[in-house]
């Protein structure tokens, strides 16, 4: 290629990158399942967007991917985002799918426990990812002296099924469901009960992208909001599509989870301000909690953590 061709080619590439149809990537932190239903249901093309959804796995570093620009958008949790920002990773939340934290601890109902405090005071084993902020909040509140804390086996529940005194961290509409299908009598204690309630399954992008391409970020949020509206109203068609990509989850479990998660997604708050909306107070509370737990070296302003790009109720 001679120099003139190179100049033409690169200016064409530049013009191309300004076009509407340039591909954007959305990185998920797990396989296609109901917690991402709205992202699969979103009518990106109607908003002039070309979005490729990248399914992930255990430990997919979506927040680093977004910060480093290897994906324009990613699904993260609010606490993860605050910690990332405190380390200089400029990532901004745009849309919060889960208004209520779906994380919890599941136990066997036969133990007759009544609260998270009971879970930590009554012996047995607790599988918990100790790096998670709520793990340290539990430790701070109730101590780990009476329970044997072991690493979380991810979504694997074999140890739980094998041992009646085994408790395990979970997503309240995921592992407990599987365990019930396997015949276990399960009781779940949501972590939100002790006041730890960050937004989760949060659509985020980099501050860089917002500065460069606010318009497409706006279109993305609008498309995603429509997608979640559709999925909450009628999950069936999207479930079938996701089930093809993730056949290890049976279709009836897809349906069951999609219906169970509705109350976490649609709340009084979202009925007023639209699905996915976030408030400054919630972010402030979270920042204060993380500061208190020593997860962030310094406090941040809530305003820098999230952006409201469109307030249209839907």
């Amino acid at each position: 290629m001679n120099r003139r061709h190179f100049v033409i080619a690169s200016s064409m590439a530049f013009l191309g990158s300004c076009g509407k149809s340039q591909k954007m990537r959305l990185a998920l932190n797990w396989k296609p399942d109901p917690q991402f239903g709205g992202f699969y249901a979103a009518p990106y093309q109607e908003h002039g967007l070309d979005v490729e959804i990248l399914p992930g796995g255990a430990g997919t570093p979506t927040i680093q991917m977004v910060g480093a620009g290897s994906a324009e958008f990613g699904v993260v949790s609010a606490d993860e985002l605050v910690v990332a920002r405190s380390h200089g990773n400029d990532v901004v939340a745009l849309f919060a799918v889960f208004q209520t934290n779906p994380q919890g601890i599941m136990v066997h109902a036969s133990r007759n426990l009544r609260s998270l405090s009971d879970v930590l005071q009554s012996g047995g084993t607790l599988a918990l990812q100790r790096g998670l902020p709520y793990a340290r909040l539990l430790e701070k509140k109730y101590g780990f002296s009476k329970v044997k804390v072991v690493p979380s086996p991810g979504g694997d529940i074999s140890a739980f099924l094998a041992d009646k005194n085994f408790a395990q961290q979970c997503f309240i509409m995921s592992e407990p469901l599987t365990a019930r299908h396997m015949g276990a009598d399960v009781q779940v204690f949501p972590v939100a009960e002790i006041g730890y309630n960050p937004y989760t399954t949060v659509l985020a992008t980099s501050g860089d992208f917002l500065r460069k391409d606010l318009e497409r970020a706006q279109a993305m949020v609008a498309a995603v909001r429509e997608g979640w509206r559709r999925y909450v109203d009628n999950a069936e068609p999207v479930n079938q599509r996701m089930n093809k990509m993730n056949p290890s989850m049976p279709l009836d479990v897809f349906a069951e989870v999609a219906s169970a998660q509705k109350s976490l997604i649609e709340t009084d708050e979202t009925r007023r301000n639209g699905l996915g909306s976030m408030t400054n107070e919630r972010w402030q509370t979270l920042i204060a909690q993380l500061r208190d737990l020593g997860d962030i070296p310094k406090s941040l302003s809530a305003d820098e953590c999230f952006r409201t790009l469109s307030a249209a109720p839907l």
Binding site: V83, A84, N89, G131, V150, P151, P153, S158
Partner: protein, 254 residues
Amino acid sequence: VSARRLRAVIPALIPLVVVTAIAELAARYGLVKGYLVPAPSAVLRAMIESRGELAGALLTTSASALTGFLLSTIIGIGIAVFLSSSRAIQRAFYPYAVFFQTVPIIAIAPLLVIWFGYGSRTVIASAFVVSIFPVIANTLSGILSTEPALRDLFRLYGASTPVTLWKLRFPSALPQILTGLRVASGLAVIGAIVGEFIGGQGLGSVVDVARTQQRVDKVFAAVLLASVLGLALFGLINLLSYATLRRWHQSEQQ
């Protein structure tokens, strides 16, 4: 420190200094983002800051890795001796030894935990499973490649099979056994850390927690200590190699 010793160490230090300096400068000038790859100075700071926790973790991991490594040394050599006893036995069992080399430890992790419980027994099992194959493979190939002339000599003098094994086959296989142990030592450290992801404890647990907290500096600090452990094991085997081979084998006589 004698001048000769110094001359032996300097070549190994040059890459270390150069790479560290480049990494530090790249971080200082913002060429790499600190939340992806930490500056060496940040790693050092994390190491000092969490020295108590890291030292304890290093000790735990060392004990597990060393135990797993010793087990695979003893059992691996034992299996190789057994396999070397006849062609038929080799054909029957060797393919199954290959299983150890290919088993994705993460996939059988829940099983390890259920069989061995949380804690060091699972970690040792993981280190063992991951590190036994190179011991078997190298020992076997060493035993089988005994010089035929010497074997004939032993036969001529009517030496029994155990005597031939102990006085001839085993010593002549030693250089290859030691090579197997060098490979296995590194794998035992990896196996221990992976085991700690699932079984708890040690550097693996530190890495797991630090990763969840997005503390890359601490992750790298723990990884660095793991490689120090690997180096120490490697050095130990080199020492053993020098002690056993220096009188007669080329590789230790320069």
